[in-house]
């Protein structure tokens, strides 16, 4: 586990071990003591409810917050857990404690069935696809005659059958589960997984381009979240005593879990708990206060929800962090990051790019082989049987006028699209049809025409993400590799700055560093020069040429033929999807066929 220790050492922002594990444990003990002296049953039941919702919202937050997939299907897991406990007890007399254990695999299986297909969707499509699962289950459970499932009363064995008159016991069970979930949450937010899920939340395409299998990461989180919710469902049913499909599968359960996170602060550990502490007592108090006049409690709830969003659209935590005390702490942590930098050998003590680039190869070795690649959309031929090979250490430019098929070619090479026919080899491996994250792991890295940094991560963290999923490619320690990549683009002094707050040219350099930190076999750049001023262009070109000199194979795709010709040693020209020229720049730019493609036929005689 050297990777995670590296990551931990790097980030003083990650909470310390003590505050992460010991403090919650102490809080839990204090809570048990409080339960010991609490007299009011009403209050105890309220506390039990608050902890149940806090735990449920925590499980939702893993999917909806950390990976950013707003699931509206969370009730499916709660309901399945609730009815699992009910069915086992009713049909076989099995106590709910066993059901809690069985709920883990049940929730996992349900999560795979729901998540595997829907997690391929993005945004609102995912939300709307997930919402149908609990609703379908609700319909089925109603249809099968479970409208009012009464848990079989076992008054003689309250502990074995989890049927206490005293709501404090439920509060304790929920609190134990919450403690476990909290520990898991802490473990997640301290491991390298927090970078994976954070990358996915911010930009799934960029996440794939650094080698993260976004679907699998999302699915794993979804499974854990589903299992957690399913276990909670078992206990929730015992506390309710009467289970109806509406109360456990209903859309309001899923929405509630989401609202709690959004009110508190979505994607933060404390968010769901804070949201629950605000919303649940409020709704309970409203319902108790307006008991005799139906609708009023809901009306006040709705109005308060609207007001909360208008006043604090990003949740309570974001607002709290603007307070002076938190701001001071934040400044302290970035100091810590600067201090961490000091422990790394300074940039001048070794050659900045020495570790960047590929391991030594024969100069004639073919890195990329494109054979008869063709891509059609319906009747449109975007790429027409193009073949070429790139040798190790070459600096190749693929140029062509707009609409020549450059971008399609680029997407085909990087796995973001797949060819209709033809083959692509990376080294000796056939990579035709492989997904982009696999290509990234094999050392074929790309930048984007419209840059895709992870805006909420610092520049350093962005570069770290470039290497994290391909740890085995990086020689030596991860941290050193990241700082070297940073030095090579000259941004070490801005390491702690958020990528989203950087200038366009810094972001473009950042993308280059994010790619080369993984010591790729080959770097592909999609229109890297677009939008840069002459000084920035020169800076980028200098960096690319230095990388090339160090042995990195580079393919640059751009329409600025003049600029590319000055930089590369070989140029491939596409026009109307076909390869029309391939050779040294000074030869290629003088070919009549190329001139015609760029300037039109009437210039031929000029």
């Amino acid at each position: 586990m050297s990777t995670s220790t590296d990551v931990r050492a790097t980030f003083s922002r990650a909470r310390s071990w003590k505050s992460s594990y010991i403090v919650p444990l102490l809080v839990f003990v204090a809570f048990l003591a409080l339960m010991g002296v609490l007299q009011s049953n009403y209050l105890a039941r309220l506390i039990a409810l608050v902890i149940f919702w806090g735990a449920l919202a925590t499980t939702w937050n893993w999917v909806g917050g950390y990976t950013g997939q707003l699931s509206l299907g969370h009730a499916a897991f709660v309901g399945l857990g609730a009815y699992l406990g009910y069915a086992l007890e009713k049909e076989f007399g099995i106590p709910p404690w066993y059901a809690m254990v069985l709920a883990i695999p049940l929730g996992a299986v349900a999560a795979v069935l729901i998540g595997a297909p829907t997690l391929r969707l993005t945004g609102v499509f995912f939300s709307l696809a997930t919402v149908v699962f609990p609703i379908t289950l609700q319909i089925f459970f109603t249809y099968w005659g479970y409208q009012e499932a009464l848990i079989p009363p076992k008054p003689n064995n309250p502990y074995l059958y989890m049927q206490w008159d005293d709501p404090r016991m439920y509060a304790i069970v929920f609190a134990t589960l919450l403690l476990i979930y909290w520990f898991f949450d802490v473990a997640l937010t301290r491991s390298k997984w927090r970078f994976y899920v954070g990358a996915i939340r911010q930009d799934q395409i960029a996440a794939a381009s650094v080698g993260i299998n976004t679907w699998i990461v999302k699915l794993i989180v979804f499974i854990i979240s589903g299992s957690g919710a399913c276990v909670l469902g078992v206990v929730y049913a015992q506390m309710l005593f009467v289970v109806t499909p509406e109360t456990v599968f209903g859309i309001n359960v899923s929405l509630q879990a989401m609202v709690l996170c959004l009110v508190g602060g979505i994607g933060r550990s404390y968010g769901p708990l804070l949201g629950t502490l605000i919303v649940i007592p409020m709704t309970q108090a409203l319902e108790a206060y307006f008991e005799s006049s139906p609708g009023v409690a809901q009306l006040v709830y709705g109005i308060m929800l609207i007001l909360v969003i208008l006043l604090i659209p990003n949740g309570v935590i974001a607002r709290l962090q603007e307070l002076p005390w938190f701001a001071k702490r934040k400044a302290a942590t970035s100091d810590g990051q600067r201090a961490a930098r000091k422990s790394i050998p300074s940039a001048s003590s070794f050659d900045a790019t020495s570790q960047v680039g590929i391991s030594a190869r024969d100069a004639d070795e073919i890195v990329l082989q494109v054979e008869d690649v063709r891509k059609t959309y319906g009747g449109v031929i975007a790429v027409n049987n193009v073949s070429f090979a790139v040798k190790a250490g070459q600096f190749v430019g693929i140029v062509g006028p707009n609409g020549a098929g450059k971008t399609t070619m680029f997407d085909l090479l990087t796995g973001f699209q797949h060819p209709t026919s033809g083959k692509i080899h990376l080294g000796a491996t056939d990579i035709t049809g492989l997904p982009s994250h696999k290509l990234a792991r094999m050392g074929l890295r790309r930048t984007f025409q419209v840059p895709r940094p992870f805006p909420m991560f610092s520049i350093y963290q962005n570069i770290l993400l470039g290497a994290l999923a391909v740890r085995n490619r990086v020689e030596g320690d991860l941290e050193g590799a990241c700082w070297r990549a940073l030095d090579s683009i000259g941004l070490s002094n801005r390491a702690a700055a958020l990528a989203g707050l950087s200038t366009p040219s810094q972001i473009r350099l950042l993308e280059v560093a994010r790619a080369v930190v993984s010591r790729p076999q080959m770097l592909l750049l999609d229109e890297p020069l677009a939008g840069l001023d002459p000084a920035e262009t020169n800076e980028l070109i200098d960096i690319l040429q230095e990388l090339h000199r160090r042995g990195l194979t580079i393919v640059i795709v751009d329409h600025a033929i003049g600029m590319v010709a000055k930089v590369v040693e070989r140029m491939i020209v596409l026009d109307n999807g076909s390869l029309i020229a391939d050779g040294p720049p000074d030869e290629v730019t003088h070919l009549p066929r190329v001139v015609e493609a760029y300037l039109g036929t009437r210039w031929q005689d000029a």
Partner: protein, 290 residues
């Protein structure tokens, strides 16, 4: 299985689907232009039903005749909500989503306070009358509602293609920044799209109350159907939404006949998930086309 039974199911599905098509058009208009998933949308439909019911109850006015005034009233009711939505920083979809949930909660509870929980039906002379064509029974009320829905959708089509505001709306849906740079007031277009959406919901509610009782939570039964219809057709495409609505009506109708009434929505959900997996962009793509 007889042909008339099949025809009956088909006719039922089409008549229902026409109304869904109108509702889906309004959802797609608001989503396409504002990028807001409006959970309160079906509640505006419920308000339209309630208002039409009240107009009939107190003044004896016919809901289908009153569809346009009811729609205008609901457009007006949508105005403050649109204003509040515009106050949320654009692009903060999480906040917008909760906001519409809050609005939904407010509307439902107000309806509960003022009209009570029991369903209220408007009985018109045509409510229980039927045409019989080739052995197929066609309810007058449903047919009139269907025709009214078609007319309103045609009106929406004309608005989006023939008026400056409509074209500006499509431009905004395509690219708000570009639309803003050629002189479109994006905030105003957003609000206009929103109130046209709630207005159409009101019209739909008004014509529906002639065959369907109104209760405060009836929106909950419709909101999923509206979303599914829109996604099936392709978010942001008005003809797509109309087609999606029709499709949902047909699936529900056939699902109820061939399975059981209780499970009619299950067949819908199965179709929906299958469609999403094979064609996530919907039947028609993304853009708001007229």
């Amino acid at each position: 299985m007889t042909w008339s039974f099949l025809g009956q199911t088909l006719a039922g599905g089409i008549l229902l689907g026409g109304i869904y098509a109108l509702l889906a058009s309004s959802v797609t208009l608001i989503f396409g232009v504002m990028r807001v998933i409006n959970f309160a949308q079906a509640d505006f439909m419920m308000l339209g039903m309630a208002l039409a019911f009240a107009l009939n109850y107190f003044f004896g006015l016919d809901p289908i005749v009153m569809a346009i005034p009811v729609g205008l009233a609901l457009a007006l009711a949508g105005l403050p909500v649109a204003g509040v939505l515009e106050r949320v920083p654009r692009g903060n979809q999480d906040a917008q989503l909760i906001l519409t949930l809050g609005v939904s909660s407010v509307i439902q509870s107000l309806a509960l306070i003022f009209i009570g929980p029991t369903p209220k039906v408007v009985l018109r002379p045509y409510t229980n009358e039927y045409f019989i064509i080739g052995g197929i029974l066609i309810n007058h009320a449903r047919l009139f509602a269907f025709i009214a829905a078609l007319i309103m959708m045609f009106g929406l089509y004309l608005f989006l293609t023939r008026t400056w505001t409509g074209r500006a709306m499509r431009a905004t849906a395509d690219d708000p920044t570009a639309a803003g740079s050629v002189g479109v007031n994006v905030a105003r277009i957003h609000m206009t799209a929103f109130i046209i959406g709630t207005g159409l919901d009101g019209c739909a509610g008004s014509v529906m109350v002639t065959f369907l009782g109104v209760n405060p939570v009836i929106g909950s039964d419709f909101i999923m159907i509206m979303f599914l219809a829109v996604v099936m057709g392709g978010l942001g495409s008005v003809p797509g939404a109309a087609l999606g609505g029709l499709l949902v009506g047909l699936i529900q109708s056939f699902g109820a006949q061939f399975w059981t009434l209780q499970l009619q929505n299950v067949s819908l959900f199965v179709m929906f998930v299958a469609l999403l997996l094979f064609r996530p962009q919907g039947i028609f793509g993304f853009r708001l086309r007229a």
